[in-house]
Amino acid sequence: MNNHQTRNRICYAVFSLLIILAGYTIENPYYIQVLTFIGINTLLALGLNMLMGYAGQISLGHAAFFGIGAYGTAILTVHYNLSPWLALPAAIAAAMIVAYIVGIPTLKLSGYYLGMGTLGFGMIVNILFREWSSVTGGASGFIGIPTLELGPVSFSSGRNYFFLVWGFVLTSFIICQRIIDSRIGRALRAIHDGEKAASAVGVDTRKLKLQVFVLSAAFSALAGFLYAHLVFFISPGTFSFIASIRMVTMVVIGGMASIWGSLLGASLLTLLPEWLHAFSEFEMVVYGLILMIVMIFLPRGLTRGLLDIYERANKKNDH
């Protein structure tokens, strides 16, 4: 156990060093921006991974919470002139309350049925963003979201925002790691492996599933907040069904039940469209093909899949 903890500490130390190094050495503003987006997507993937990878509950509507975070802060800062730093907890709380209310009936379902319930919820929230135009700006989007400022520090520059986002990512990683290593983390994995067995040994599965659903909604809302203040303009398309699916894909391709897998999945799915611009009109075809091929050949995600291949190769050498 101790060994495991020291290894984790070293990992996080190296990770923070890399963030600082990247933040100070990379000069190209485009790279900084892509890395910032990777950070935001990592938060999304991390939250969903807690739900899908550890507790084994699928959600096809998580973009709704991403959207509630983004629209929450946009509405509070623009319509009510609230400071963004007050809007942040408010937006996260809103997402958590919605998750709690929706979670009670939805999490009773499982498998495809749970997927469909969350899908329906996500679609309804997305339609609300689009149709409630007096509040959300409707289909044409919400403009004029203010820049973040903290005393003398302005987060208008790419570098400062990069550090802000990755600071949040690092903190979230540590929070999740601590949850996973705790008693709750073990209970979550028990639910993943067998819900009935878990409840037979005394795990309150209903309560725990709800808690982890609310937690993952909070991470998505945080990502939404960071996204809104980065691009200053949000529209319903960003939080559509496709966005929910993209989040699921990040988790599965990166590797379920792996914190570093979330980082890998988020990086790949952020970078992939950037690389695919070269294909211009073949972009969608290639993107779809890559998704299918990865899932057919590495159904357990890249982290796990590559490890499997490595272990198999090692075994062969032993013989």
């Binding site: 997927g115 319930g117 339609i127 689009r130 069904f241 699916i245 009109e281 779809g288 998704l291 057919i296």
Partner: protein, 307 residues
Amino acid sequence: MELIPWPELHAMDQSIMQEILQYLFSGITNGAIYAVIAIGFSMLYNSTDLINFAHGEFVMLGSLCMVTFFGSMHLPLVPAIILTIICVAIAGLVFERLAIRSVKHPEPIVLIIITVGASIFLRGLGMIIWGKDAYSIPSFSSHPPLDIAGAKLLSQSIWIIVIFLVASVGLQLFYKKTLTGKAMEANAISKRAAWIVGIPSKLMVMLAFGLSTAMGGLAGVIIAPITMSSYDMGTMLGLKGFCAAMLGGLGSLWGALIGGFLLGILEALGVGFVSSGLKDATAFVLLLFILYVRPGGIISSADANRF
């Protein structure tokens, strides 16, 4: 409160009745389309336990093939429909052979992502072949609309309902009367037992895929004259057809029919009396409602498995 004089009240009554009838007609038309899409979902789910998120894209393919064969190449109606359905079914078979059969551990989440990948791929393919434009084709025949109690029934609506009836009766006969249909049903009930009595289950799965995507193509064919067809039309249609299938009871043919018509009619009435902006929400509100109250759908027994 002012009282409305009797003759005017009567006139209002009549116009409201007319309006309701008009919405009902459009609801039944859309309902038939949702039902055809839902049948495709249900059939596939029955035989393979798979939910095909690319199903809406096969509807799109059907619609756009119809635009090419009927709209630009001016083939006669029946050959154009048959050609379209064959093309879409072949696309479905290729999809099954290359993507679905290669999966070694068919877990729901993996299959969901593969079919979503396929839907993105097909959308991209549609964009390459037909471009980003939206097309419309003329109605299958140029009869004037029927006038029933003051409400108008378009000739294409009649076509849609007739084609829907032919397709669903045909399917029912196929399942109940032919050996292949019975074998498919046996395979859907228990693959292992069907295999023991000599039913080739791989072939049955292929057939289910072909039939399911052919139904998707048919939905595309009948919808082409009443909507603008474009490469991105499939997603919403697919999701709504899916809601209809869930509503009635996933895996049941009758459930798909009931779910489709219920969704179509409620949606049309919702547009008429609540708000047209919230039209798309109807399907998903119904979906959540049925999942919370009776997850197995209207048709199934209350204790249907939630997995």
